[in-house]
């Protein structure tokens, strides 16, 4: 293999095309092929020579990364004037462009408006070099302080917990052999005992942290949680923490102490967030505690007033997170948890609180679980809710519970259904499919679709002005290109980057942005372009305000130019295109008949839009070619 690589090294020279391109860029027109070959060989050799010298500077600069200053210094060694203006510590992105049968790598230089620079406030002065001392080792052992890397790297913790027999830690090996002297050697070898002795400082820390976590001072708690979530040296204390949490939950569930349960769950969350810890070993203590907080019949003293639902949601999210991180084919956490939740949900005698917890726990596990386990049971569950809501009032608590279960189901199912069901959303059909919950689901689904569409629009807008994240632009346009008649905006697919966000769009706490402006662009070939600014307001009464702006604002200008300047000329001859998005917000949140439409004015030659998209992605290349 080494041989192959070396051969490659030997033959690498710059292509003669590069010589031509460079010659052209400085005004030398016709360069003969032979001169190009000679030049490229010479230039390749010199470049290699300079690179080798630059490496020396890198080594002496005690760096692993070659910088532009190394190249400059290497040039100076050869008595060559260094390249000015390429001072960058960071990676300089070279971009690739092709077009007109040519391929180019170039360094993208943005035009910078000087007045912008002058007007922007000065950046903060970078901090001066300072010296900080810490103990890397005390009498041969490395203290676990934030300045040092975690004593046991996460990978090793993982190996330790998943494959305990393979672990050979340098420190523990000695311990093991010492202990082994009195006892049966083979046994000890098989299962090395891990010691978790805490130093006095660690004991103090543990005491402080646990007290702060469950104490009354919120500021202190935040600090303690922050410490748990970031401190690298907690590995030794992990068993204590997990016992603390599991015991704490056990006691406080009995006492119905909601606040303490919340604090303990926040501790679990912090532990999980700590990048240096691997919790697998302690899941047998943590998971029961978390599950308890999800499904327990009663978590607080006054179930009708206290918001124990939030705790259940939070714990359910924790559960889902740990399933995602730790579930393997051997421990099967996810399937076991799913089974547990389903079993108690299916039980008729289950109380509303537990029912809520089960559904929340399942729903957090992802759309697939919702699809396979929750959706089929919507009808049954709907009937049960109907019985409580519309039947004779048995207990207020049941009613509240049913209400919460209903909103929970609507929240989680709507987005999934929105993806699954084809349009249009007809209320009656929903009713037949999902029973009692059908109509409400229908409205939620429609809301979800609108929101997804709006978010897509939002992304679309940013891409239009910044011209940066092209993939999102592509998606939204391909969505538009498919529409031939009046369609609902939901046809605009959710861009991939938004997928995570829009999974839970129906959360009531998330208000739609107030009065957002959406710019819809119109381009005509050569003629003045028009923009429509639609102001959408989330307030209930407002109708969309549409403003037409003649001649594009400066932000949009480059794109317009690019569209018409494309060398392939796909867009240049295109007639006017106009996308207008009009969205009428529902008059009331409870309204079952939302109106949400988009009226794209006739979009001709839809298939050509693909070409437009292509042009945009290569736009910088087009720009550089323009001098020809």
């Amino acid at each position: 293999m080494a041989e192959e690589r070396r051969q490659k090294q030997c033959s690498v020279t710059l292509p003669t095309e590069s010589m031509k391109a460079i010659a052209e860029s400085i005004g030398v027109g016709q360069l003969q092929e032979e001169s190009c070959t000679a030049l490229s060989e010479e230039v390749s050799y010199r470049i290699k020579e300079i690179a080798q010298d630059a490496l020396k500077f890198m080594h002496h600069g005690k760096r692993r990364k070659l910088t532009t200053s190394d190249i400059d210094n290497a040039l100076k060694l050869k008595n060559v004037e260094p390249l000015y203006g390429f001072q960058s510590q960071e990676f300089i992105p070279f971009r690739f462009a092709s077009g007109g049968g040519r391929e180019l790598h170039f360094y993208e230089e943005k035009e910078v408006d000087l007045s912008d620079i002058i007007n922007t406030p000065l950046p903060r002065v970078p901090l001066d070099v300072s010296l900080k001392a810490h103990w890397l080792s005390i009498d041969g052992t490395q203290p676990s302080i934030p300045e040092n890397p975690p004593p046991v790297p996460k990978e090793q913790q993982k190996v330790e917990s998943t494959e305990p027999l393979k672990v050979v830690k340098p420190g523990q090996e000695e311990d093991g052999s010492i202990q082994a002297k009195g006892k049966d050697k083979g046994l000890i070898r098989l299962k090395p005992r891990s010691t978790h002795e805490l130093s006095v400082e660690q004991q103090l820390y543990y005491k402080e942290i646990t007290e702060a976590c469950v104490g009354s001072c919120e500021a202190k708690r935040a600090e303690a949680l922050q410490s748990i979530a970031t401190d690298p040296g907690l590995y030794q204390m992990l068993p204590r923490f997990s016992t603390f949490i599991s015991e704490g939950v056990r006691v406080n569930v009995v006492q119905n102490n909601l606040a303490l349960l919340i604090y303990l769950m926040r501790m679990v969350k912090a532990l999980m967030d700590n990048p240096t810890l691997y919790l697998e070993k302690y899941l047998h203590e943590l998971i029961p505690a978390v599950v308890t907080c999800i499904v327990s019949k009663q978590l607080c003293l006054r179930p009708d007033v206290d918001n124990h639902w939030a705790l259940r949601d939070f714990a359910a999210r924790l559960m889902a997170q740990s399933c995602k991180t730790f579930s393997t084919t051997t421990n099967n956490i996810q399937s076991r948890i799913t089974k547990t939740f389903t079993k108690s949900w299916l039980d008729d005698k289950t109380q509303w609180t537990t029912r809520y917890g089960c559904i929340a726990g399942l729903a957090e596990l992802g759309p697939d679980v919702i699809k396979t386990l929750i959706l089929p049971r919507l009808t049954v569950e709907g009937a049960r809710i109907k019985a409580v809501m519309e039947g004779p009032v048995i207990s207020n608590i049941d009613k509240i519970g049913a209400d919460h279960v209903q909103s929970l189901l609507l929240k989680h199912c709507a987005s999934v259904i929105a993806k699954l069901r084809p349009q249009p959303d007809v209320v009656d059909q929903y009713r037949t499919d999902y029973g009692y919950l059908g109509p409400m689901l229908c409205s939620h689904v429609m809301k979800a679709r609108t929101q997804a569409a709006l978010q897509a629009q939002q992304v679309n807008r940013t891409t239009l002005t910044i011209t940066q994240p092209r993939p999102t632009l592509t998606v939204s346009q391909s969505g538009l290109s498919g529409s031939t008649g009046p369609r609902t905006p939901s046809i605009i697919k959710v861009p991939s980057s938004l997928a995570l966000m829009s999974q839970r769009p129906g959360t009531p706490s998330q208000p739609s942005p107030p009065a957002t402006k959406y710019i819809v662009m119109a381009t005509s070939s050569g003629a003045a372009s028009t923009q429509q600014v639609i102001t959408l307001s989330s307030s209930q009464s407002a109708s969309p305000v549409t403003t037409s702006v003649h001649s594009a604002t400066s932000a949009l200008q480059p794109l317009v130019k690019l569209d018409s300047g494309g060398s392939t000329g796909l867009t240049a001859s295109r007639p006017l295109q106009k996308y207008i998005v009009v969205s009428l917000p529902p008059s009331a949140s409870s309204s079952l008949e939302p109106k949400s439409t988009v009226i794209p004015t006739p979009i001709p030659s839809a298939s050509l839009d693909g070409g437009l998209k292509l042009e945009r992605s290569d736009s910088p290349g087009v720009r550089t070619q323009s001098p020809h």
Binding site: P126, S137, P149
Partner: protein
Amino acid sequence: MRCHDFPKLELPVFSSAHAHFICKMAAVQGGLVDAVEEKTIKSEPVADATANNSANDARAPSSSPGSGVSPGVNKPAAGAAEDQQTLLAVLQFLRKNNLSESVEILRREAGLPEDSLDQKGGDSTGTGLGGPEADGRTDAGSLLSRVTVSSSAPSKAVAEDQPDVNVVLSAYSQQGDPALYEVYYSGLKKFIETVLDCHRAELSQVFYPLFVHMYLELVYNNHENKAKAFFEKFSGDQECYYQDDLRVLCSLTKKEHMRGNETLLDFRTSKFVLRISRDSYQLLKRHLQERQNNQIWNIIQEHLYIDIFDGMPRSKGQIDAMSGSLAGEAKREANKAKVYYGLLKEPEIELPLDDEDEEAENEEGKPKKKKPKKDNMGSKSKKQDPNAPSQTRIPLPELKDSDKLDKIMNMKEATKRIRLGPDNLPSICFYSFLNAYQGLTAVDLTDDSSLIAGGFADSTVRVWSVTPKKLRKVKSAADLNMIDKESDDVLERIMDEKTASESKILYGHSGPVYGISFSPDRNYLLSSSEDGTIRLWSLQTFTCLVGYKGHNYPVWDTQFSPHGYYFVSGGHDRVARLWATDHYQPLRMFSGHLADITCTRFHPNSNYVVTGSSDRTIRLWDVLNGNCVRIFTGHKGPIHALAFSPNGKFLASGATDGRVLLWDIGHGLMVGELKGHTDTIYSLRFSRDSEILASGSMDNTVRLWDATKAFDLETDDFTAATGHIHLQDNSQELLLGSYMTKSTPVIHLHFTRRNLLLAAGGYNP
């Protein structure tokens, strides 16, 4: 200094030493003539050299009256003739450049007759002065090149020199049939593959130099495609540690490229050294003669130096341990010179001073009784080490009162020193440089660990105080006039309280600072930079005192002598220079390395300096006469760290290949190999009592090694005589600890006087 007593006796020694020095310098200067910025230096060198001469008479190489070094003691008889030849070459060079005054001075000093030079022009080879490679050319260029080659070390001619390059290249002009090269090479390859196992490893050494020279010959004779094909076919066979050189070689495909390529010139000017047993050599010779394989035989004759020894052929492992350098192994006789590696006797310090100081310190506490401990302190170094150089071999600066105080402090601290060992590892305190976005390139700590200095890529040098005592400047001249010079605390009064701060920045360099070194008395700081200068800074006024120019190319490293006053520097120009702080021209130039000198260190007795280089060799130089007395090969990458053991007997070296090699200086042998690091080693340090070796690396770790165990081996006479080493692979046993930083390469290590290990590096977020 002492020289006035015996001026006449010494002269011959001087002049020969100086001839060496001037000659090397001349070679270098001649080479640099075309570089523009060197003009100032170029106009002065000889005049300065002579000035140096007289200055040196007064200080540097004067030897003690007792030992009375005579020419014969330090130099073998053969060296005398060589020296004379060198002298003649220098004279000729001077004359050619119309420096008649210098010619006169040198001639007079060397005691040469006036016409010796004129004679020489005609019959330099005929008189038998010529070295082994007398080729009959008489022009100055060839003479120079020959002189440099035949001087004690194979020194290198600087690349840009036009006539020299042509001489060098012309060696390749012999034409063979280019098509046959592959046949020749593969024929030899086949032969070596079929030879007996015990000879195969030894003979395989021939492959690499042969390959290189055949390839260069092809390139030189414009057989570009043949050369490429040859390279592609056989480059894969070469040992992996030659890969870097092969990469340079493969980019070289045209005759024009050869001009100015250092690697190529190195191959030509220095003979590749191979060590082969007599049996193997006979085998090879017989084969080549049978086959009439003149092409290869010529190359072997001309470009290879085969060091033949009697006895068993070496094994593959033995060969691999020693090979890897740019020019093969060191010749055996290169490491035979006597090295005085012992320590100098500690100066006797009057004990009353000790007591006074003791009392001063314990003023407020209970005044202590006279301690018995000072006896053993005094007797510690009374006996003269037989391996130590004489006290005055190199004139050292006299101790000042403050130095004595410091020594006393040192001894006191030493009594509180922790005994380290495998069961008693040192604590490590790590100094991280935060926000060093510009790039931290060098760090040094004072011996008493009170100051730390960092050199940065933005050309600054910053000094921090790591004790509560802040850094203060001396008051301005006007203010100094005001103070009472008679007062007891005058030293305190001269300091300007207003300037007290924890750190100071020294501005002056115009390029990244790559080397930094505190003087032992903590009054000065040296820094070497990419801009080709070395600067001496005062830590009293925090200003630059001197800029030492001479390197012209980046200076990669510099270090003060442990006794102060002298310092050594080395850089891209491949010449290490010895300087004294009060001379703006170097006292010695050590040339011989074939590539950049990457690091330089002083021996604890100040009589030797060691340099590590990108040519993957380490050389030990004698400060007295400028000779190279040891060449260590075995590293497979540029050497970036060197450390002498405190007893002066051993040397540790670290390179980009991540290995630490241990060397016995007295025997000139490799005694150990420590594997474990995964990246360049930038720092090595022995604990104060040599029990522990600490190594710091780019892989963000500090590792501790059991030095006592590593050096605990008997060197038998056979190994000492043949230089055949048997290394055991016991790195894992010797590794005592490995400490990882979060994201900070370790670029400096330092043991405090109490054996606490300090490490430093710039944090890379």
